[in-house]
Amino acid sequence: MPQIKIQGANIVLIGNFNPAIFHPSWFAAHNLLRAEEADAATINIVHPDVASFKTEWLAVDIVKERFQLGTVQESFYETLRDIVVGILGLLSHTPIKFMGINREFHFDLVSEDSWSGLGHRLVPKEDWNPLLKSPGMRNLVVEGLRPDDLKGYLRVMVQPSTQIKYGVYIEVNDHYVLKEDEKDVGGADRARVVLSEKWNESMKRSSEIAQAIAKLGEKT
C-alpha cells in the first residue's frame, strides 16, 4: 500500500501584484500571521520585483505576475487558505486572472517492482523500446476537464520522487479561470469565494486522485 511520506498544499494566483508590500511585517500588521512568526521569518528578498520568505511553516514566493503561498505541514492547510483569503480581502482590487489550488505528494511505493510497474502502467514502454535504450518515465502531465460548472481544468503531474527511493511524486493542479478579458474586474473577490467554498472539495479530490494513481503500480 503506497504511503504518503511528504505532502504539501499551495495556492497560486496569476495577476498583477506588488511584491514589495509582502514583507513578513505586513502579514503581522494585518493579523495574517502571528507577530512572533513574522519576526522569526527567514527573508530571502523583499523587492519591488520579488518577495520571497519562509516562516516555520509557510513559504511565500511572489513576483509581479505570480503569487504563491504554500506549506508542507498538513496542520496548517486551513490556515494557509485563510491567509490567502485574508490577503484577497485586503487587496480586493488586485487583478487576478487565474487561481490554482494545488496539492503535492511523495508516495513511497516500497518496492522497485511497484515503482517501475507504476511507470510502465502510466507510460507503456512497448512503443518506446525501439526508439530509446531503457526508456523510463521522467515526467507525465495529464489534464482533464473540471468536474463542476466552473471554468478551468485539473492537471496532474507524475514524476519519480527525488526524495524517496522507489517513490513517486504527484502534483494535482486544480486550476480556476477567474476572468477572461482585461475589462473584467472582480478576480480577487471571485478567488476569495472559490477558496472559501471549494477548498474542502478540492483538497479531497486531489488527495483521491493522487492516491488512485499511486496504487496503479500495485495492479501490474
Binding site: N44, V72, Q73, E74, E78, V85, G100, P160, T162
Partner: protein
C-alpha cells in the same frame, strides 16, 4: 542573489503565463526569471523545508463557551475519524497570543499528528485560530452572486 539556470516546467509549448501549477521540480521550487535593473536573475532557491507534518486527526472547531481555564467547542472532522463531537479544551493548550480569540463563535483548527524532523519524529497537537472572516453561504447569497455566474460563459 546568485545566477541560476532557469527551469521552465512548461517547456517550449506554452507561454507559461497562465500556469497555476506550483512550478516545482519534484518539491524544489525553481523561480521565475526576474528583471532587477539591468540584471536578469532567477530568485534564489527557497530553502527546502526540513520538517513535514502529517495530521492523524484534524478538526475545525467552533467555540461554544468560555469558562475559567477551559472552553467548550464543537469539532467537525477534516482528517481522520468522521465523528462530530464536542470537547472541553484547556485554555493553556492555546498559544498565549491567540487566547484573546477564544470567544463564542470563534473558529479554530485543531490538528493532532506527527512532525517529521531531521532529529526524529515528534507528536504534535496544534490549535490555531482563524484570524479573518470567511465568506459564508449567506454572504455569497446576500451579495446576489452565485459562483456559476462568475465563471459561466
Amino acid at each position: 542573489m546568485r545566477f541560476q539556470k532557469e527551469t521552465l516546467l512548461a517547456g517550449t509549448n506554452s507561454s507559461g503565463r497562465d500556469i497555476t501549477e506550483a512550478r516545482k521540480q519534484n518539491g524544489s521550487t525553481e523561480g521565475s526569471r526576474v528583471q532587477l535593473g539591468e540584471l536578469v536573475l532567477s530568485p534564489p532557491k527557497t530553502t527546502p523545508f526540513r520538517e513535514y507534518s502529517k495530521a492523524i486527526q484534524k478538526w475545525e472547531g467552533k467555540v461554544i463557551s468560555l469558562s475559567g481555564d477551559t472552553f467548550r467547542a464543537t469539532l467537525s472532522p477534516i482528517v481522520g475519524d468522521k465523528l462530530e463531537q464536542e470537547a472541553e479544551i484547556y485554555v493553556q493548550d492555546v498559544t498565549p497570543d491567540e487566547r484573546s480569540f477564544i470567544e463564542p463563535g470563534a473558529i479554530f483548527y485543531w490538528s493532532i499528528g506527527y512532525l517529521e524532523r531531521p532529529s526524529g519524529r515528534v507528536r504534535e497537537s496544534i490549535i490555531r485560530f482563524r484570524r479573518l472572516p470567511m465568506w459564508t453561504d449567506n454572504e455569497v447569497k446576500k451579495a446576489g452572486r452565485d459562483l456559476t455566474v462568475y465563471f459561466n460563459e
